[in-house]
């Protein structure tokens, strides 16, 4: 056990801190995240130059070209978060790795540089209304007609579809093949005729996601990444980077401290909430969970920094992390009593209504990207080696 960073990393952290202090006046001050704004693009460019964005993307495709070093990446993320300065991005964290691994040289040259500079933005066309947990059953068709694919169908849960320049999309090109073998992976501009984007209102009142409808959308057959029918494997080559991720234990810790703060300052009948033993006990239970996940995150980070698979400690992060966040939001609402139900810029609203917003959003995160049930299947099967559910075909 060594909770300190080595000198090399301490020096690196100093560098990052200094860079941020020296350059933060150049960072976009607003919260908008849309790549493509000028100030955003020049900031991203500066970050790439210094190795704080697109850090491991090869220089020939516009990146910084460093060797992967998970601790350095972690330090960069930590310091930008601590300083509350907009961090850099690496284009799209699914698309860019996919292109690097499986794209043609032409695709890499064409798409990666503008993407990591933030001049070209992407949305992802995977999920469909009929295929949630069972993604491979997707039904959006792409038929070859001359040099084009002609796409018909519908995607859902497409975040950023209203603003993205491009989509990377899974379509069914071989309808008669087994479901995993009939899918192709296509790239095309969102302004291609026949694409209709409709916002999808969420329970929170926001519309972060969209439905995307395709009606005879023609894209050249050269839009494909990998071979026809191999799209499932192309997509999964990068999905593996995402599942069971690190989560963000810092966010959970920050949220926990907000609750402590709340309990020390809000009162009911003139009594501090912290003086209610029942609430305090609930707070302590959450603290133990929050700390467990924080240390678990450090354990995963240590594994990752050595290039090892973390295994179970990593598999459980999404399930347990989302649940913890949801429970913290639930507690804050209870603490606030009647005030906890306020929303939408109401008088007396606490913290901008963030707790209700989080309570719902976290439930969405428990559901999204593999429901808690799918997560438990994966933990049972992949981490514990329990057998899969027997397949039922055509039932």
């Amino acid at each position: 056990m060594d909770l300190e960073y080595s000198e090399e990393y301490q020096a690196f952290r100093q560098e990052v801190v200094r860079f941020i202090a020296d350059h933060r006046h150049l960072a976009p001050g607003n919260v908008a995240r849309r790549p493509g704004e000028d100030v955003g693009i020049s900031w991203q460019k500066l970050l790439i130059e210094h190795g704080y964005a697109a850090r491991t993307v090869p220089a020939e495709y516009g990146g910084f070209g460093a060797e992967p070093d998970i601790l350095k990446s972690h330090i960069i993320a930590e310091e930008f978060a601590r300083a509350k300065v907009r961090p850099g991005h690496s284009g799209d964290n699914r698309l860019v790795p996919t292109l690097l691994e499986l794209g043609t040289e032409a695709q890499k040259k064409q798409f990666i540089p503008p993407t990591i500079r933030g001049e070209m933005s992407w949305c992802q066309g995977y999920s469909e209304p009929g295929s949630g947990s069972d993604l491979a059953s997707l039904g959006t068709r792409a038929e070859v007609d001359g040099d084009d694919f002609v796409i018909n169908g519908q995607k859902i849960w497409t975040s950023g579809a209203k603003t993205a320049d491009m989509m990377f999309c899974l379509v069914r090109t071989e309808p008669d093949a087994p479901k995993h073998q009939g899918i192709s992976y296509l790239l095309f501009p969102m302004d291609t005729p026949g694409i209709d984007v409709r916002p999808l209102l969420q329970m929170t009142g926001d519309a972060h996601f969209n439905e995307v409808f395709f009606t005879d959308v023609r894209v050249p057959t050269s839009s494909i990444v990998g071979k026809r029918g191999e799209g499932w494997f192309v997509a999964n080559a990068t999905l593996k980077h995402e599942r069971g991720g690190l989560g963000d234990p810092h966010a959970a810790e920050a949220r926990f401290h907000e609750i402590v703060e709340l309990m020390q300052h809000e009162t009911v009948d003139g009594m501090r909430l912290m003086d209610h033993a029942v609430y305090r006990d609930r707070l302590l239970k959450l603290q133990a969970r929050m700390l467990s996940m924080k240390f678990n995150g450090m354990r995963v980070l240590t594994h990752s920094s050595r290039g090892e698979e973390a295994g179970l400690p990593r598999w459980i992060v999404k399930l347990m992390g989302c649940e913890l966040n949801h429970q913290m939001a639930a507690m804050a609402i209870d603490l606030l009593g009647e005030l906890g139900i306020l929303y939408d810029a109401s008088p007396y609203l606490r913290d901008g209504g963030i707790w209700q917003h989080r309570y719902m959003l976290d439930l969405g995160l428990i559901i999204g990207g593999g429901t808690a049930q799918i997560q438990k299947n994966m933990i049972g099967e992949r981490a514990l080696g329990l057998p899969k559910e027997p397949k039922v075909e055509g039932a």
């Binding site: 969420q202 209870d334 906890g340 139900i341 109401s346 559901i367 075909e393 039932a395």
Partner: protein, 362 residues
């Protein structure tokens, strides 16, 4: 020994439910929510015709003279359909406060108009349950000043009933000089809660409540039972929607309800919710029949339904997957209704502590 609803009670609930399903489908709820209204005219007038506003008001004052159990059956039906219409404050707590502490003249003046759907009452008593920040109303002579922060059905109300800091109840004209009403926005857009600022406002005391907390407590108990019943109805609907969705939605070549995980989520919801129905019936029954048990049972019904409702709201959303998180099916209207029922008139921990005090355990 008949621990069940009577035929009349079942018929009442059926007729209210049928009316609401016909007149207040989800589309109507959405329309109201989007327009910011929590008072849908056709529903209000239809409920008037069914006698619902006078459900606890004696026949001599134009009501139908039923007990709180019947009022809870109505609340359950309203929760089941997430109906945007005043009820808990205006049609239950206000008449109960007036019946418990009003003079005959006050009863004659207000109750027939409530029963006839001609007047909406807002009720502000939350500072007597758990005072937040600067809530609280003080009495000087017959004039009130201060703030009632969570006035149930208080938006667009004609009359208000508020408790002063001693627990005495007063009726105020909502248009009286010195009254400022502000709408509070909550996650539940089917309910109306207002803050009311009073600046030296002329008020009319309900004399039976002076020096006697009984009427205030009865009013709160009734409100808690109604919120619990509303939560029961909304939770039942979320369970029913989950089961229906699980029978229909297919993934991996099977309807998802055939997966043990989904099946057990539905079974857990049913197993938690079903005993709540008996708890609700008993609690509402003793409110009238066994007053000694009334306050304790109102606390238990309120707190337990809050816990079970929260679990069901969450589980049902999970069963619906991503669709539960969107606005498409409107499932969130129930989710939020249950959230509202949980927080108002005492969040569970506070209500349980009250139940401990009632039993002399503190």
């Amino acid at each position: 020994m008949e621990f069940s609803l009577t035929e009349e009670q079942r018929l009442l609930q059926d007729s209210v439910s049928r009316f609401l399903q016909a007149e207040c489908p989800l589309a109507r709820v959405r329309e109201a929510a989007e327009s910011g209204s929590t008072h849908v005219d056709n529903v209000w007038s239809g409920l008037t015709d069914l006698g619902i506003h006078g459900i606890v008001i004696p026949e001599e004052q134009g009501g139908v003279g039923l007990s709180l159990l019947e009022a809870c059956l109505v609340a359950e039906a309203l929760g089941n359909c997430v109906v945007p219409v005043p009820f808990v404050g205006s049609s239950v707590m206000a008449p109960i406060a007036i019946l418990a502490a009003g003079t005959d003249a006050q009863k004659e003046r207000f109750l027939p108009r409530i029963a006839a759907g001609q007047v909406v009452f807002g009720v502000g008593v939350t500072e007597q349950i758990g005072r937040r920040e600067s809530e609280g109303i003080s009495l000087q002579g017959s004039r009130l000043s201060g703030k009632a922060m969570f006035v149930l059905d208080g938006v667009d109300a004609d009359q208000l009933i508020v408790a002063d800091s001693s627990g005495a109840l007063h009726i105020i004209d909502a248009d009286a000089r010195g009254v400022t009403t502000g709408k509070l926005k909550t996650i539940d857009r089917t309910r109306a809660v207002a803050e009311v600022l009073l600046n030296d406002v002329e008020a009319e005391v309900l004399p039976g409540s002076v020096g006697n907390r009984g009427p205030l407590e009865s009013t709160i108990d009734a409100g808690r039972l109604i919120l619990a019943a509303d939560c029961l109805g909304a939770s039942q609907n979320m369970l029913d929607q989950s089961v229906a969705y699980a029978k229909e939605r297919r993934q991996f070549n099977r309807v998802i309800g055939s997966f043990q995980a989904v099946k057990h989520m539905c079974a857990d919801m049913a197993a938690e919710l079903e005993p709540c129905r008996a708890l609700m019936w008993y609690s509402a029954h003793v409110y009238t029949a066994i007053p000694d048990e009334a306050r304790l049972m109102a606390c238990h019904a309120k707190a337990h339904l809050a816990e079970v409702g929260q679990q069901i709201a969450r589980t049902s959303t999970e069963v619906h997957g991503g669709m539960g998180f969107t606005d498409l099916l409107g499932l969130h209207y129930w989710f939020k209704r249950i959230g509202f029922d949980r927080q108002l008139l005492g969040a569970p921990e506070l209500v349980r502590e009250e139940a401990a005090r009632i039993q002399g355990w503190v």
